[in-house]
């Protein structure tokens, strides 16, 4: 079921909240969080219903998940202020308890596709409605367990399962092209018999449309979302160091200006489009 509750103001506020949370906590992994945020916001505000489930396989985007939950009212500002600090529920990667919306403690890559397949299989066996969504990174497809799940879910026709790949093209120590040629990931998914769609992972209309077009019988779906690591922040976009490095004050101020400016541009483009 597609809802239309995500406003550009809320998206901007959430992006700024993500930057502030990471800046105040002095932690990195911002690039991969910025590449995932639009996907998570789209899922949580326009797609996920009470019968659906979500697994964040790329646990290093926990920050983006936390602020998305905050944007839904599931976490408070006080919660976010504890991020990455002592006695916090919000560890650097998703916790194994304490936040009911988070089903699994991830962070070691390659678990989500199997976990979500298990949940989708349970729905199938019990005749329950709803769909299971799982967001993976692109570098994560280096892990063999992902391919085990890919074979399994297709073989069992888990059409209530949708994987989304955040294809930002960069991983921990280089480009994904360099390591395993996952640029051809789409072709591989097709070869494994999945229903594959490619979208711009920062185009919410396209994302929403792709998520609504996943077939409900026959085969599982994968959406390859082409994204930009460090999306919206000029000095981070497509740069390796955005995987790890925290922001200093100057960088933070610049990042906020960049994100606000882009939001203004998008907003005026939308107005022009309407006129």
């Amino acid at each position: 079921m597609i809802k239309r509750e995500l406003s550009s103001d809320l998206l901007l506020a959430t992006k700024l909240r993500l930057l502030r949370m990471h800046f105040e906590a002095g932690v990195g992994h911002i690039g991969g969080n910025l590449s995932s945020l639009d996907i998570l916001m789209c899922l949580y505000h326009q797609v996920l219903g009470p019968d659906d489930a979500f697994v964040l396989s790329k646990g290093h985007s926990a920050g983006a998940l936390y602020v998305t939950l905050w944007s839904k009212g599931g976490l408070t500002d006080a919660d976010l202020e504890t991020f990455h600090r002592d006695a916090s529920r919000l560890s650097g990667h998703p916790p194994c308890s304490g936040i009911p919306a988070i089903l699994f403690a991830t962070g070691s890559l390659g678990h989500g596709p199997s976990l979500s397949s298990g949940m989708a299989l349970a729905k199938r066996l019990r005749g329950e409605p709803g769909r299971v969504y799982c967001l993976t990174s692109d570098g994560e497809w280096n892990e063999g367990s992902c391919w085990e799940a890919l074979i399994f879910a297709k073989h069992h026709g888990l059409s209530n399962l949708t994987l989304i790949v955040d294809l930002n093209g960069l991983q921990g120590f280089g480009t994904t092209n360099f390591f395993s040629n996952v640029a051809a990931l789409t072709e591989k998914f097709r070869a494994f018999g999945w229903y594959v769609q490619e979208v711009n992972g920062h185009d919410l209309v396209a994302l929403t449309s792709a998520l609504s077009q996943c077939p409900s019988i026959g085969v599982p779906s994968v959406i390859v979302a082409k994204t930009i690591k460090g999306n919206g922040v000029s000095f981070m976009e497509g740069r390796m160091d955005s995987h790890y490095l925290p922001l200093d004050r100057t960088q933070y101020d610049q990042a906020v200006r960049d994100v606000e400016l882009e939001a203004d541009l998008v907003s005026s483009r939308q107005k022009d489009g309407r006129e």
Partner: protein, 303 residues
């Protein structure tokens, strides 16, 4: 033990939440389970990492998955999946390993599981169940059917002693009373206890060591009659088809010392890998490690 295990799995099929996963093993054994469970019997293929995470996903969604393979393949390859996906979340997944210890004999080292429960029990919430006799399976599986925690079930080959009244199932059981001048308390884990009891009964009734059987780990509490027996015999001999490190012997020693109790003598007979670099049956490997009845009783009866 696999045949009675399968029969009990067929009975368990009546529970709608029960799901059985196998990592492509169980040919000529699991067919009745497959037939009884229908769609709830799933051969996931040779993919143990996927199998354990699938089981976690199923359990998270409220089902009761059992994941089956031969013992060495169920805990080593998917260790991270057991840790992160199952144990951290305290999900009621039952991992079943057939052929614990040197059970797969001459198949070789890759097919042995001699550090299985030691490794698994480093993880939170999980318990290990090690049946010694076929008859242990029913009460054990009844416990596991309702477990709220992850569990590891280590199956072996039942070696039931002839004409011995085995006490009703419990984590601790005494199979043989110590003779008045018996000089040791033997505590065994797993099916090898059968041969030890048989041999101990051939010793004169006065000089016999007592034989205890431990079937669940980690150890919750030490039964007082066991502690009293060790106090009187003065020599505790722990025997297990598992390496020393992380084994029941280490756990017992830790427990006893924590209770400010140290037996006068302590012997730990454990798996020692492949000391001669030669391979053979399960009995061959037990002999190589001093786990055969004769070697155990030599240690238990020495002055």
């Amino acid at each position: 033990m696999r045949a009675p295990f399968c029969a009990l799995m067929v009975e368990a099929a009546a529970s709608a939440d029960f799901v059985f996963l196998t990592g492509d093993l169980g040919f000529k054994a699991l067919e009745p389970v497959r037939d009884a469970l229908g769609k709830r019997f799933i051969n996931v293929g040779v993919a143990e990492q996927n199998m354990v995470s699938l089981a976690a996903g199923l359990a998270r969604a409220g089902m009761r998955p059992w994941a089956y393979s031969i013992a060495p393949f169920i805990y080593a390859r998917p260790f991270e999946q057991i840790r992160n996906d199952v144990c951290l979340h305290r999900l009621p997944v039952v991992l079943v390993g057939n052929g614990g210890g040197y059970g797969y004999g001459v198949m070789g080292a890759t097919h042995h599981a001699i550090e299985d429960y030691g490794v698994i029990l480093t993880l939170p919430h999980i318990r290990a169940y090690i049946p010694a006799f076929d008859g242990d399976l029913r009460p054990m599986l009844r416990l596991l059917a309702h477990t709220e925690c992850p569990a590891y079930l280590r199956l072996g080959l039942s070696e039931e002693p002839k004409d011995l009244a085995i006490p009703p199932y419990g984590a601790w059981r005494q199979l043989l009373e110590r003779g008045v001048s018996g000089r040791a308390t033997i505590l065994a884990v797993g099916p090898l206890v059968g041969g030890i009891v048989e041999a101990a009964r051939n010793i004169s009734s006065e000089r016999r060591p007592s034989v205890w059987l431990l079937s669940e780990l980690p150890i919750a509490e030490l039964p007082q009659p066991f502690v009293d027996d060790v106090t009187k015999s003065g020599h505790l001999v722990v025997v297990e088809e598992h390496v020393e490190h992380g084994g029941a012997g280490s756990m017992i020693a830790h427990k006893l010392l924590s209770h400010r109790f140290a037996p006068f003598r302590f012997s730990h007979l454990a798996a020692r890998g492949y000391p001669s670099s030669l391979y053979g049956s399960q009995k061959f490997h037990r002999r190589e490690c001093g786990l055969d009845p004769s070697s155990v009783l030599t240690v238990a009866c020495q002055d």
